[in-house]
């Protein structure tokens, strides 16, 4: 196994373009057999949400996601890993977060992307506040226990997940 690659992490207000990010990750390479992308979007099933305000801890958001990403590239043989997380106001249907993981084979790419999202959800310093369509404040989104539980499955050595 070759040395872990350097993950790319960006924290930004602007939207991102998954196609552009995928192309940048794979450009000119013939050692990538599998690319898994995860995109997290702003949902509004009830039709009552005007926007989500994403607050973050500047500096730590980037540092913490890099710490998680470094664990991922040490654990799986990745050819590329890229994470983008937005802050500021997003509207229903808008992108919030993207993880792209590339590898020779699919299982490493799937596992690394899922691992990144599980830890990003519970450790990256971002908080969502709802703004309702009727002008009222919807309050802060509450953390879900299921997200903490999801991180537990990565405690085993990675060979046991295969």
């Amino acid at each position: 196994m070759s040395a872990p690659i350097e993950p790319a992490v960006r924290i930004q207000r602007e939207d991102f373009d998954l196609a552009h990010e995928s192309a940048a990750l794979c450009a000119g390479r013939t050692d990538i057999g599998a690319l898994v992308t995860f995109t997290g979007l702003c949902r509004d099933e009830a039709g009552t949400l005007a926007a989500l305000e994403l607050e973050h801890y500047p500096g730590m958001a980037d540092a913490e996601i890099r710490r998680i990403a470094r664990q991922a590239v040490e654990r799986w043989p990745l050819s590329g890993l890229r994470v983008i997380h937005r802050y500021g106001k997003v509207r229903p249907g808008d992108n919030i977060v993207a993880v792209l993981a590339a590898s020779r084979h699919r299982q490493a790419a799937f596992d690394a992307a899922a691992f990144m999202m599980d830890f990003l959800k519970t450790r990256a310093p971002f908080w969502k506040k709802e703004h309702r369509s009727d002008g009222s404040e919807g309050g802060w989104v509450e953390a879900r226990d299921i997200d903490d539980e999801a991180t537990q499955r990565w405690r085993e050595p990675s060979a046991a997940d295969r």
Binding site: G40, Y57, F126, W127, W140, E142, A143
Partner: protein, 83 residues
């Protein structure tokens, strides 16, 4: 020492950051939380469920029993909901 607050911790305390001089007997995160809670009603409200408060020292997550000596910046915030 610089304290920074986020999300509803920030809203309840009423400001995003401040400089504080800690008494010598405040040596852990738990000690800091209870000292802060005694600083006024807004702090008491913000920190009343102390176990729900997450803490970072110098931008790294720490547990409540962590020692705070050497900290340049301590952040208090609710459980995270990014992603």
């Amino acid at each position: 020492m610089k304290l920074v607050y986020f999300a509803w911790v920030r809203e309840r305390i009423g400001h995003a950051e401040e400089e504080v001089d800690l008494p010598d007997d405040v040596v852990t995160v738990a000690g800091l939380l209870s000292w802060l809670a005694g600083r006024g009603e807004e702090y008491e409200t913000a920190l009343k469920h102390a176990s729900a408060i997450r803490v970072a020292i110098n931008q790294e997550h720490v547990a409540h029993d962590a020692r705070i000596e050497g900290a340049r910046e301590i952040a208090l915030f609710p459980p995270m909901t990014g992603g």
